[in-house]
Symmetry: C2
Subunit: 127 residues, 2 copies
């Protein structure tokens, strides 16, 4: 972890609802087999295996063979590391200094700083 590419991998892995659901399922039923996991989804088994490969590449899922089957486990470590990064990197702002920005986001009309002009016709805020 701690490397940019690793972070890319973890965030990318988490950027799909099906993959997040896989983590939920594996959290609830550790040691689940590939086929059993796949049966929980509408898409094909191969599609599920591709998602699994992405989760494994990110370190979020680990596995071990068990006969002709394979047992899958959720691994929290990468999430913990990212969590640590976040809280340290943005801790100053979580403390409240960015309340100014927060209210800009919630009511996207008022200027975030005194010297800023009021928006006239742009109206382009984050979606």
């Amino acid at each position: 972890m701690q490397d940019d590419r690793d972070m890319d991998a973890v965030f990318h892995a988490l950027a799909h609802a099906s993959r997040r659901r896989m983590l939920d399922i594996l959290t609830a039923r550790p040691g689940l087999a590939v086929g059993a996991l796949a049966s929980e989804f509408d898409v094909s088994r191969v599609a599920v295996m591709k998602h699994l490969a992405i989760l494994e590449a990110a370190g979020l899922v680990v596995s071990e063979p068990d006969g002709r089957s394979r047992r899958l486990y959720f691994n929290v470590v990468p999430i913990q590391m990212i969590h640590e990064r976040w809280t340290t990197q943005y801790s100053a702002y979580w403390a409240g200094q960015l309340t100014r920005i927060k209210y800009l986001a919630e009511s996207a009309t008022a200027p975030p700083s005194p010297q800023a002009k009021s928006r006239k016709k742009g109206e382009r805020d984050g979606s």
Copy 2:
């Protein structure tokens, strides 16, 4: 937030080192203009604007027009919400119940449970 598509958007936005760096820059220099931000990167201004669009769609960046320029601001709220989700959803496991799985991940050789057979030639753990 709280919606799956919103989470997709935030995670996807964070899944690129350039975009994370943009958030860092905007955290350090709130109100920065598009061109000034773009000058920090090797890629073209248009590429930077596309990244910005993704960050804005995720709600991680908000902006307001200022003359012929546009001021950009980092918005923590989506990250805070995802953070809350994480800590509540996985709090039980962060407490230590998954230590068994963690050690599987770190030394990817020992079986995570007694009834599991030892790996023979698979050697496929999460990369």
